[in-house]
Each structure stands twice: as C-alpha cells, then as structure tokens.
C-alpha cells in the first residue's frame, strides 16, 4: 500500500472560514511618517514651530474624526479607556458636548518641498527600496504598492488615539500598537506598522506552478 492510511478531515470545517479574517482597514502608516506623543517629543527631531502647528492641526482633526459618544460609559464600552469630554458648536449657534477617546499623539509626515526629518534621521528615498527590482529585471508589473505612494505630498499631521488593547488609530485605522493600558506615549518609542508592501507585483496572478 502506498495510499495514505488516513487523511484528517479538519478540512470540512476549515472550508467555511474565509482567509482574511479582518475586514477592518488595518493599515497604514505612510512611509516616513513619525508618531509623536507630544510636542516635546516632536521638537527633539523637528522645528518646534512646526511641531506646535502640527499639534494644533491634529487636535482640530481629532475633534472631527474621533468616534463620539453621548456618555462616558458608552465610550468606554466601545473599548476606549481615556474618554474625555469635548464640545462642538452646532449649526444653530448652540453647542453640544460628547465623549471621545483622548488624543494620545500625532503623526507627522515629510513636509512639502522635500523637507525631510529635522533630526538627522534622513532615511533613504523610496526608490532605494524599489531598486531591488524583480529577479532578472523582468516585466513584473506595477511594483509600487498603495503604501506611501503620496509620501512626498503629505504635509498634514494626523491625530492618534488608542483603545484598551493598545491599538493606536488614526482616522479609524490601526497604525501601531503599544502595551495595553498605556495612557501616555510621552517620548517613548512607538512601533509603527506599515502594510500593503506585499502582493502588488503578482504577474497575471493565477496561482503557483
């Protein structure tokens, strides 16, 4: 007998599951963006005026973008630990208060006009990474992924807030993760994750061999 004596059929159950478990948009830092816990952390690397301006801009964005809840309990039930009150003006001229996760930091990209990092951390331009190229310089199509395609054009700063599992979000997408329970980023290093760097150069993608 050469035949398998058994073939385990875990498979029947597995078949029902889909591969990509996460339909949440779970990326993306733009290459070259840096996450700062506060203005002081930013000012170690950049022009302090730029840091102030970025912080103010992020605060304003945060007010617009962060998830909002009518009560603190609802905010916490949604997974956020540091919920603060905020007020916005309504169109009728009144104001309304609500709860939202506190801004824990902000991300700043490269400045328009090619201004890079202020702190001597100038990273190689993107072309360097792409020049690894396809084996044999062959016709691998469109290698440039979605990630960071517009890096040079980014000047905006982006607000960052966290949940109780330590995920840090901007605009509803997770960009980094810290120790759960972290309440302040301060000037501690934060690991950032960029995604989407694989899967763009499939040639006439239909599988293997």
């Amino acid at each position: 007998m050469r035949k398998s004596r058994y073939v385990t059929l875990l498979l029947a159950g597995a078949a029902a599951t889909t591969l990509v478990a996460c339909d949440q948009q779970h990326d993306m830092t733009q290459d070259g963006e840096t996450l700062y816990g506060d203005v002081a952390a930013c000012a170690k690397e950049r022009d302090p005026a730029e840091c102030d301006q970025g912080f103010a801009q992020a605060k304003e964005e945060h007010l617009k973008q962060a998830p909002k809840f009518t009560t603190k309990e609802e905010c916490e039930a949604a997974g956020f630990t540091q919920c603060e009150t905020a007020q916005v003006r309504t169109a009728e001229g009144g104001s309304q208060s609500f709860f939202m996760p506190m801004m824990m930091g902000y991300m700043m990209g490269q400045m328009l006009g090619g201004r890079g990092y202020g702190g001597g951390m100038g990273m190689p331009p993107r072309q360097d990474q792409q020049s690894t190229g396809s084996a044999g310089g062959s016709a691998a199509g469109g290698a440039s992924g979605a990630a960071g395609a517009n890096t040079a054009a980014r000047t905006a700063s982006r607000p960052v807030y966290g949940d109780r599992n330590g995920y840090l979000y901007t605009g509803g997408t997770a960009v980094a993760r810290v120790q759960p329970g972290t309440t302040s980023l301060g000037s501690t290093p934060v690991r950032m994750t960029s995604r989407g760097g694989f899967g763009s150069s499939a040639r006439g993608f239909s599988g293997g061999a």
């Binding site: 385990t8 597995a14 599951t17 591969l19 044999g136 062959s138 899967g199 599988g207």
Partner: protein, 409 residues
C-alpha cells in the same frame, strides 16, 4: 498507463465541496473544467516504482546542481537580480542549519511501461495541486475503488515533514498567500491543517496584510524592523504560496531580504529553492548528467540543437505554462515556420531555456478527443510521496489543465 472513462459520481460537486475543495471548476467554460472524474488513469505497480525512483533520484541530482550553480557562479545566467543572488547564496550556505523545506513537484512526461519518465521541470518553490492530489483524489478512491491502491501518502508525508520542522523551530508558524484566490487559499488551509496536526501553533495572514513594524521615526529604516501579522505579532517562520521572485520585486522586497539574511525570519520554501525552480536548472542538469534516462536534452542556446529538432522554449521564471512555445528549428537555430503551440503570459524577459520535446501519455476518449497527460510527482522532505495527473487537449499544460485521479494495481 491507461486512461479509463467512467461516469462521474452524480453528486461529485457536493462531495468535493464537503472536503473544502471549492475551486473544482472554472465557471462559464466547458465542463469538466478542472476536477475531472469522467476518467481516471490506471498505472501498474511497476510504473509507480519507476516514477518514485525517478523522483527521488532527480531530487538528489537537483540538489547537486543547485550546489554547482552557486559554486560555479552560474546564478546570473538564471535571470536573477544581484539582490536575489546574494540572498540565494546565503540561503544555500545555511541550508542544513536553519533552512526549512517541505515540498516540491516534478512534472514528468511519461508514456508508461518501460519508457523512463522524463523530467519537464521541478516546481520547487510554489507547486500547486497539492490538495487535489493529497485529499480529493484520495477521497475519490476511497469511495469508488476502496480495494485499489494509489501513489499517494502525501498527507502523512506533510504531517511528518511539519513535525520535523517543528522540532527544529519553536514558535508560531505563519502561512500566507495572495488573496482573494480560492485555490491558493484552499491549499493554504490544507497546509495549516497539516501543520496543526503536527503540533504547530499556526496562523494564516494574507500577504497584503503583512506589516512591517519599526521603531518610532524609522518607518523606512530596514534594519530596525520586523514583519508582523494583523495583531502586530512578530512573524518569525513564514510558509508562503507566493513565488519568491514576486515577493522580492514587491515594495517589501528589500525588507524581506534583510530579515532572511539576518535570520530574523525563516521562510518556507527557503530562498535557495529558487535555483531549482528556475528552468535554467534543466540545462545545467543536462550538462552535469548528459544522457541521463530521466532527463531531456536542454540548452540555454537553442542553436545547440540539431537543425530540424522540435524544441520547447520555456521562460526561466515561467509558471503554469505561460509563454511556453513549441517549434521546429531550421538550420542554425531559427524557427522553421510558426510555432506548433504557444501560450501567452507575462514572462520571458528574463531569458529562456530550450528543451527537447518529449512524447507524453495520451489517450483518445469516446468522443474522439485526445488528452495529453503530465504527471506531477511530489517530493515531501526529499521523499517521493505521490502523484497528481493533469490533462489537457493541447500540448502545453497550463493553470487550468484538468486534474484527473489515478489508481494503480
């Protein structure tokens, strides 16, 4: 080798789907379009012995040839970039220490009986059709011919191979492929199952969901980073159903090279498998083992063939029959007339190897159609573990050639 027609099981679709085989057909084409149980191939025990012996001998020869390719500095002729070559050489040097290899699949032209199986190529990096061979044709045999045998201990082989690798390598196994893609995702689930059965802790992550985690301010700094899954857990051992050359030309390619060279990341199949997955290996094998009964004449330069020869041009990095053409050579190499057969595709810029055309098993069915069969012979951890047969009415087997089950007596 004999092709025998029989009526498919009336409820075969429900049965194979119950196994998780959800890529059994190509919609809106002539049916059967992929899984085809309207026939099966019947082999003799002697034929299976021949295939098994050829598989294991050729695998050993390919490893020898890979070593020569590195030692003699031949890799630039394989169409690899400098980055790829550096990675491959490093991977080859460390192959015994920390390089994990599970599988590969030879394709044979074999007409049966005493004729030696002829190696067409070795899909050593991202072979497909594993699940069909290991599970679907096994279940078919169990139901239809439970007393017959099949050259197929793939499942046991995979579990054994994963067990061996788990002993070498503690930690979590990540598995990845490009999505959405029913076939690759299904095969990946099967690899996940066999790894779990072998005791691994294992987790699937889509290729485009893989993240590069870096310290604050170093998003473009390769040296400080590592790969992570969607939960931001570090990826240390990665099984991939994505060809190496695609990964290397991706945006994360340089990061991948760095992570593998520093040992931060172990990839299955290892990078050195790129050498024997490359069609240039065919010319090197013929040079090293001229007139070996399981090899076909193969040269990088088609003028090495006698005028009038019928040769098959294969792109070095090609897959699934893409850009392969078959033509008769006139004097001094140029083609005499139009190709006899050819396939479109996105390959070929990297160069071609030329291989003599070999007769394949073929049979005419009741409707008068001729079917050509290629035998995919699996190597799991160095051992010949079974076959899967692909059929086509054309001469070039491609990604949608039908999978037809087999048995032997």
């Amino acid at each position: 080798m004999q092709r025998i027609s029989l009526a498919p099981r009336p409820d075969w679709i429900a049965k194979v789907e119950a196994l998780g085989f959800d890529w059994h057909s190509v919609p809106e084409t002539e049916q059967p379009s992929y899984w085809d149980e309207s026939a099966y191939w019947k082999l003799t025990a002697d034929e299976v012995d021949r295939l098994e012996a050829a598989t294991e001998e050729l695998h050993a020869m390919c490893i020898e040839a890979a070593g020569q390719a590195v030692e003699r500095g031949l890799l630039p002729h394989f169409g690899f970039s400098e980055t790829a070559i550096a990675l491959i050489e490093e991977s080859w040097r460390r192959r015994d220490a920390d390089q994990l290899s599970i599988y590969g699949r030879f394709d044979f032209a074999y007409t049966g009986a005493d004729a030696p199986p002829k190696m067409l190529e070795y899909n050593a990096d991202t072979p497909t059709g594993l699940y069909e061979a290991a599970v679907v044709q096994w279940a078919w045999l169990e139901e239809r011919f439970p007393e017959s045998d099949q050259f197929n201990s793939l499942h046991e082989g995979l579990v054994q191979a994963w067990t061996k690798l788990r002993d070498k390598n503690k930690g979590v196994l990540h598995l990845t492929c490009l999505t959405p893609h029913a076939e690759d995702e299904g095969t990946l689930r099967y690899m996940l199952d066999t790894a779990l059965e072998a005791g691994w802790t294992a987790k699937i992550v889509g290729a485009s969901d893989i993240g590069w985690s870096t310290l604050d301010g170093a998003a473009t700094n390769i040296a400080d980073g590592y790969f992570v899954d969607l939960e931001d857990s570090k990826i240390e051992t990665l099984f991939k159903i994505v060809p190496w050359d695609w990964l290397l030309s991706d945006e994360f390619g340089a990061r991948l090279v760095h992570a593998v060279k520093t040992g931060e990341l172990t990839v299955i199949e290892p990078a050195w498998k790129m050498i024997i997955a490359n069609k240039a290996i065919l010319a090197l094998l013929w040079e090293m083992y001229p007139d070996h009964p399981n090899l076909l004449p193969a040269f990088m330069d088609r003028s090495a063939f006698a005028p009038g020869s019928t040769v098959v041009a294969k792109p070095l990095l090609g897959r699934e029959g893409a850009n392969i053409s078959i033509a008769e050579l006139g004097a001094d190499g140029p083609l005499a007339g139009a190709p006899i057969a050819s396939m479109d595709g996105a390959y070929g810029d990297e160069g071609y190897v030329y291989q003599a055309l070999s007769p394949m098993a073929s049979a005419v069915d009741d409707a008068g159609k001729t079917h050509h069969a290629v035998i995919g012979s699996w190597v799991i951890d160095g051992i010949g573990r079974g076959i899967g047969i692909r059929e086509d009415t054309g001469l070039i087997t491609h990604n949608r050639s039908r999978f037809v089950p087999h048995l032997f007596e």
